[in-house]
Structures are given as structure tokens and as C-alpha cells.
Symmetry: C2
Subunit: 343 residues, 2 copies
């Protein structure tokens, strides 16, 4: 198992510090967490749970630096809306308001900006959110890469009980809402000029309706996590560590399109590390597992939903994958960036 | 008077589209406003006023791309905290929670990041806000400029009555909380390697305490605006246009340090266009003018507060400065960027 080096062994920031792997974790643990320490950040969740004037809110932010700006199934604008919408949904919050901050490189074609802004408006409408605050900065040529977008979001938490890694319990069922790795592969295919029989579209989509259907049905949801940077593996590892529990999953339960599997093999990627932008894992009380699977499958975004495995007491902090041939593999986040700038 | 060209006459984004002048306004009016149209954005204020579960909130965002990262009186971190804190305060909201999104250029010294993060933590403590959500992205060398930071913020609005340009009334007194142009000049002095007898420090500071003192005293505050990009002139022009009223101010009432005045002359800058990061203009009911001045002056950040002038009915949308020699000058935002990337 890899032991992270202290941050002092990295005198400069590397690309891998931003890819959601072990170095990102190091940066958070050694630079951000000590400076900003507070109970909300300690939750290590996609959105902070706060309470204001008796109202239960969720609050989150993400910057988007994806390259190229346009890809099959979306663009930086749809990503910037759905990514933040999904982070709110993962805290069990109905996404309501977004802010949008644009950092534009001088010389960006106005038509490109207009396309992205139009995408954002459409994605916001589809996700039921309103973009109520904005900011634009322009930097000199060569000082950015076309366009970066930050969105922050506010949502209304439906339940008082936390939906967060700390709420995961031994015995919980672990489900995934659909097939993996499509977003990352769609980006990489473009960069590497790979062509497939049918194009592999990003799965970029807003996940609140899926979450809402579980909450409305009274499912005892303990934790939700969307599978962005670092993919399924990073999500499960972080939850196992934060909850100090063990997660056991079955490789043959992981939904994967055949062409995506082929592309991963061709590119030397393990699909469990590749980002999705419209998939979640749900940790629910054991008694709700069958109902959860049925509810997820009833929604177009959850048709491929699958039960991956379950939570156990020990060995704590560990994720184990039972492979198709029956061996057991301990999962860990990769040290090196597999796919920089996919979101 | 300059008439803005339609956006189609700008096939590419220019630096001036980001400097808070006429082209920024064009970009907002022709690209962002049509796509995102909603009542909150139509307010054209520093922070959106929203209501959630019966709680009155303010929500805002800003990205910070200042160069250089460190300057006299602050750095990109203090700016990123105070700038967003002040946008909330300008909506009459107590700043409470911030998010922080970092876009880092590969190769940034870790020590630089740590210095900035420490500054942010100190600034947050001083301003009474908690940084509850964060995100880090790293982009390849040459694809950013060291470090960009986005902060978004949530505040609690103390009053039901809006504090916004639309609430400005004829007869309102216009006050400024202190001397102008220090932030912009401190940045430009560094870039141009100018040396002064005593260094000109940025005025970067959190303004909520000033605002709170007015609200606690029951002053009828109609509008507040901090004087960032575009300075005093851009703030007044935007408010006059949005409120469809006339603003008349006196040049000799504008507080300005002698060395800042000298630096502006040397650099060919008009101080009314130069950014501050710790100054506000307040529009208050006429009967509260003397009390407002006294309250502002009672706070260390408002010692140089001054009454600039008053709001009149017509000519609507116009700001007029009575100069020291008694002539009248119609103010307008400059077309060209005077000072790119000062925040």
C-alpha cells in the first residue's frame, strides 16, 4: 500500500494534486484542512450542511477547467451546472440557486462564450436551478486556457438526518445508479482522436430527481456520492476512510458498456478510476436495498442501476473488490493523474 | 457620450471586457443577461437577495485573478475573502459562510499556496466568516497564471426592505466611507516598480462592521456599493442607470491621500476610476445624512468618511461631478481598461 509523502516533499504543485487522487488528498489534509479547520469541512462531503435562521441549507462550489471545452454529450457549461447541482443533491438537498464565475482568456471567440452560456441556461432550466449571481474576469492571452468556470450552489436539505459519510452504518447496501466511465472516456477519446462505432457520450446529467425519488419514498439514505474525479474508487475509498468502515463490492456487479470497457482496455485505464458526471453511489439501510434498486431503475438516469455490495465493520477504512475470478483486491486511489482536467 | 457597439462588433473577448467598464457592461447586457434572465440578476447588485424557508439570504460570487499575487496591504487571499464579504455586506447582509475554489497552475511553489491559504484563514477570522466548502483544480504549466481563486458567499439579510439600486430615492444623501484609489495604486506601483516616500498600502478590508453600525442605529439605508473595479465612477454610473435617477457629487468632497493623488497624476489616472477594496458609497435618506457621517467616522475604517452629494430626479441615469473650479462634468465609464487584473 502506498504511503503518502509529507507535503514538504512536494515543493511545487503538480497536475496530480488536482486529479482527485492521493496527492489531492494530501493537499487537502496538509494545506487546506489545517488552515480552514471547521466542523463542516471535517464532514469531507460534496456539500457543506449549514443551518441559517432555522432553514437547513447545503452549500458547495466547484471550478471547471475541462479541456476541450466541448465534448460528446455536453460542454464546460453543462458540466458547471450539473456538477454543482449534483454536489448539492449528494447532501440530500434540492438544488435551487447557483452562482457563476467566468475566467476568460483574452481572445476567446465571443461565439464560444455564447454557446457555453446558452448551454448553462438550458442545463439550469433542466435541473430546476436559477443562476442568481455572476462575475466575469478576463486575463491576458496565455494566462488561462480559453475559459474556466466556477459555480457555487445553494440547496434546501429535505431531512434533518445527515446524508454524509459519517452516517454510513455496517450492513448498509451500496448501490450505483448506472454504468461507469463514460464522461472520462468521452473526453479522452476526443483528446486522442479515437473513433468508435457509435460515439461515447458523456453521462453528464443532473441527479436530484433520482435522489428526490428515494427521499420521497422514505428510503433511509445514509450517504450519497457522485462519481466525478477519481471515479468509483476514489468515492468509495474516501467514504470508507471517513466512516472508518469496510466496503466490500463485487466486480461483476459494476455496470459498464461494452464499448467503454473496450476503450478502457485500449487506453490502459481501469474504469473504476474514470470519472462519471451523472452517476452516484447510494448507501442505504439494508432493509431498503431492493426498494432502492427498483426506485433507481424506474428513472431514465437509473435504468442500469446495480447493487455493488455492502458495508462491513472491519477492516476499517478499506475497500475490497471481489474480482470476476473470485480473488480479492484492496482498492486504493492512484498516485498519478490518469486523466487530468476532465472536469 | 460614448455609445456602446453591439457585441457582434467584438468577435473576441478583450481584456477590457473584464475591467468593469463599458465593455463589461456590454458583455453582461448582451451575453449573460439574455441567457440567465431572472429577477435577482435584474437587480444588478453586488449580491442576490433570495428567500429560503422564510430566511432572508444574500448570495454572491467573485473570481480573483490579481497580479501580482502579493502586494502592500494584502494578497490574493485577503482580497478573495474581503471582496466577497463586502459584496454580501452591500446587500445589507451579515457575511457568514464562504466557499473557496482554487485554480492552480502546475509548478506553483507550495509555499506560495500555503501563504495565501494562511492569509485567507486570517481574513476569514477577522471578517467573522467560515470557509465551509472548497475545491482545487490544477491546470498545466502556461494554462493559468500561478493562482486564481473564486469565493462565493452566503449572508443573512437583517432587513426585509431591499438595500439595492432600485431603492434609491430623490433627495438621498450620497456618502463615501474613506479615501479613494489606494488598492489600484498599490498594485500598479508594484507592476511599474514605483517607489514612494511611504508605501501606498491597499485599503483591502471587510466592511460589514461599518454597515452593521448603520443598520443597528436604524439609519434608513437605501443602497450600498463597494468601490472595486471601475472605482467610484463605475459604481455611481451603474446605480444612476439602474435607479433611473440623477446623482450630483462634489469633487472637493472626495477624500484622497496626497501621495495617491500624486501617483494618479504621474500615471495619468483619474482616481474616480481606480479601484478600492475597503471603501463603500452609501445612499441614505436625507434626514439621516449627518448621523450616517458620524457613524461612519466613528469606525477606524470610516475615519475619512465624507458626504459626496445627493440624488436628484433628473436628468435620469446621469452622474455629474461639480469640479473644484465650479464646472460640471458628466461622468461615464471609460471604454478602455485602465487597470486590468487588479482584483
Amino acid at each position: 500500500m502506498y504511503c503518502p509523502l509529507p507535503i514538504s516533499d512536494y515543493p511545487n504543485v503538480l497536475l496530480a494534486h488536482g486529479d482527485g487522487g492521493r496527492l489531492t488528498q494530501d493537499l487537502i489534509e496538509h494545506v487546506f484542512a489545517p488552515a480552514f479547520a471547521n466542523p463542516q469541512l471535517a464532514q469531507r462531503h460534496d456539500a457543506a450542511a449549514i443551518e441559517l435562521g432555522g432553514t437547513r441549507l447545503a452549500f458547495t462550489t466547484d471550478s471547471y477547467v475541462v479541456t476541450p471545452l466541448f465534448f460528446n454529450g455536453g460542454d464546460i457549461g453543462t458540466l458547471a451546472v450539473n456538477g454543482t447541482v449534483n454536489d448539492l443533491a449528494m447532501a440530500g438537498a434540492q438544488p435551487l440557486y447557483l452562482s457563476a464565475g467566468f475566467i476568460i482568456e483574452e481572445g476567446l471567440p465571443m461565439e464560444t462564450l455564447q454557446r457555453v452560456v446558452t448551454s448553462m441556461a438550458q442545463a439550469a432550466l433542466a435541473a430546476g436551478v436559477t443562476i442568481v449571481a455572476g462575475d466575469t474576469k478576463v486575463v491576458d492571452r496565455g494566462k488561462a486556457d480559453g475559459l474556466f468556470i466556477n459555480t457555487a450552489g445553494i440547496g434546501l436539505r429535505a431531512r434533518a438526518a445527515p446524508i454524509a459519510p459519517s452516517a454510513v452504518r455496517p450492513g448498509d447496501a451500496v448501490l450505483v445508479s448506472g454504468d461507469l466511465a463514460r464522461h472520462g472516456i468521452s473526453i479522452l477519446a476526443l483528446r486522442e482522436s479515437l473513433e468508435f462505432e457509435r460515439p461515447i457520450d458523456s453521462d453528464c446529467a443532473p441527479l436530484w430527481e433520482l435522489v428526490e425519488s428515494l427521499l420521497n419514498a422514505g428510503v433511509e439514505v445514509h450517504c450519497l456520492r457522485d462519481l466525478t474525479r477519481g471515479g468509483l474508487c476514489a468515492a468509495l475509498c474516501e467514504i470508507a476512510e471517513t466512516a472508518r468502515l469496510h466496503i466490500a463490492i463485487e466486480e461483476n456487479a459494476i455496470p459498464l458498456r461494452e464499448d467503454v470497457r473496450g476503450a478502457c482496455e485500449l487506453l490502459g485505464l481501469d474504469p473504476i478510476h474514470v470519472a462519471c458526471e451523472g452517476r452516484l453511489v447510494a448507501f442505504v439501510a439494508e432493509r431498503d436495498r431492493a426498494r432502492t434498486l427498483a426506485l433507481l431503475r424506474a428513472h431514465p438516469l437509473g435504468e442500469q442501476a446495480s447493487e455493488l455490495g455492502r458495508v462491513e465493520q472491519a477492516p476499517s477504512g478499506q475497500v475490497v473488490l471481489r474480482t470476476m475470478v473470485g480473488t480479492h483486491r484492496v482498492l486504493d486511489r492512484p498516485l498519478q493523474a490518469q486523466l487530468p482536467r476532465i472536469c
